[in-house]
């Protein structure tokens, strides 16, 4: 049994070491990257002052609005459709690969490996490779988002199946139901709410990622922001950012309301 004084001393040392370690990494890191902390800090108010002056939408920038809106809706539709297609593919793969519904150990390991591989290939790499073959079209953006989402959703769905469905599955198996009956009558109905919640999260995430994909592949809202930004039409760029904020927060609110009902 430790004495309280000894415990507190040990705890103090532990905390000091961690703080020193993290602080050391920070200082060394800023030195390596030549990051000037003071100038960086000063840049924040400067940046916001600049934003306030240049990004403020003027009466003139209203005429950009229809075009921005059209691209933004297109981006949201792309994000939704890529997520839904990814979800349909992922659910079957996750059923094959999860520990409770999976076929055998080899397939389970394979599915895990493939999902992890897809998830960790940078979105930039997907966008650029696909851009090379599929040229500058919405389909490129769709595929890039799809491949990225599949990696995330397979892993998420497998975890959901393992967490939530194993007991219901056992109950149905005990009645003598066959594999497909178990899947369609026990597993899928049980995990549907959690799956929907993940799909909604992925849609929000994809709308944000679509901006990056758009800048790289020249599609959707990212492309239009890039054009305005690089041609110094900052009021229009500000308008674009404002529209993105409204849509993303709107989507977040809607999905939170849906989650409240279903979970």
């Amino acid at each position: 049994m430790q004495s309280p004084a000894k415990f507190l001393k040990h705890k103090g040392w532990h905390q000091t070491t961690i703080i020193a370690l993290v602080g050391g990494i920070y200082v060394l890191g800023s030195w390596f990257l030549k990051f000037d902390n003071l100038n960086g800090l000063l840049a924040i108010p400067k940046a916001f002052a600049w934003l306030g002056v240049n990004f403020r939408p003027t009466a003139n920038s209203m005429e950009y609005l229809p075009r921005i809106w059209q691209k933004l809706i297109q981006t949201v539709l792309l994000a939704i459709s890529s997520t839904v297609v990814a979800a349909i593919i992922s659910i079957f793969v996750a059923l094959l690969g999860s520990k409770v519904t999976g076929i055998n150990g080899f397939v389970q390991t394979l599915v895990r490996g493939v999902a992890s591989f897809f998830r960790n290939i940078p979105l930039v790499a997907w966008s650029m490779i696909l851009l090379f073959s599929f040229k500058q079209s919405d389909f490129t953006g769709f595929l890039a988002l799809l491949l990225m989402s599949i990696g995330y959703l397979i892993r998420a769905f497998m975890e959901i199946i393992e967490d939530e469905a194993s007991e219901t599955m056992l109950a149905l198996k005990a009645t003598g139901a066959n594999y497909f009956q178990v899947i369609f009558q026990a597993v899928l109905p049980q995990i549907l709410p959690s799956i929907l919640s993940w799909i909604l999260y992925m849609i929000e995430n994809n709308v944000r990622d679509a901006t990056l994909v758009g800048i790289l592949t020249g599609t959707g809202i990212g492309f239009i922001f890039d054009i305005y930004y690089k041609s110094f039409r900052f009021d229009a760029a500000g308008m674009t950012v404002l529209a993105i904020i409204i849509v993303v927060i709107g989507l977040e609110t809607i999905s939170n309301q849906i989650r409240k009902v279903i979970l």
Binding site: F35, I80, I121, P122, V124, L130, I244, I249, I262
Partner: protein, 285 residues
Amino acid sequence: MINSEETNTIIQKPKLPDSPEIKLHEKSLSRTMIIAVFIGLILITGYTLTHLDTAGVQINQAFKELITTLNQMFLQPNAGTDGVTLLLQALGSSLLLSILTTIIGAVFGFLFAVLASKNLTNAYLGAGIRVVMAIIRAIPTIIWALIFSIVCGLGTTAAILGLSFHSVAYLTKAYSESIEGIDNSTIESLKVTGAKFWVIIFQAIWPTIVASFVSWTFIRLEINFANAIAVGAAAGAGGIGYQLFVASGMSFDFHETGFIVYLVILVTFVLEFIAVKIRRFYLNR
């Protein structure tokens, strides 16, 4: 003697009880909602896919090209003209960038989370911080980096500020959700002893949430590494992302692209491994 007629009257067919039909599914708002949302999503997907602009690309041809490219990338990777040393340097600077921004995000995120949690501060301050953070989070990281690059010039400073902004907003939300999950009696009992605000934070709140603090911070580290690559590619902030962009979009050297992708995957595996170890350490304490 028992004749057959009597047995007939004794053994009667039992009457079926007048039971209502067994319902397989209970009707509830939740079920209706799930079905409605799924139908809606599938309709939107169908509409989008049939109206997708493919810019007149021959899909079969394109897929064939894609397979050639993937073959070059994953089966024949090499360091290309840049050389291994340069690529490793770039990888290191991207990794440092993500660690640095995660540290900034964690420190400021925790401060803001304490000020924004409903069970610790007054409602107006909390609501104000939450709204501001929601707005910051709604703007993609890449746009933050582009905005800061006007003031600081293209380079690491802009990338660090851009990534930090998003990290702070993300972690504030994550941490404050963990803080709000704390049992109120813990806080109340410390308040009764007359403990000051920051004493409560560091003696009651911090030890309770440290495990989830660590998990969220490492999740953000992984996201920040992905974002550091993205910012390097799309905002010219340097690092491995820029090399990736040049190799795949300018010099079309897919062997080098493959090499870079393998490097990135290796780093994310190592990060995941460390995260799992540290998380287990804090959960078992």
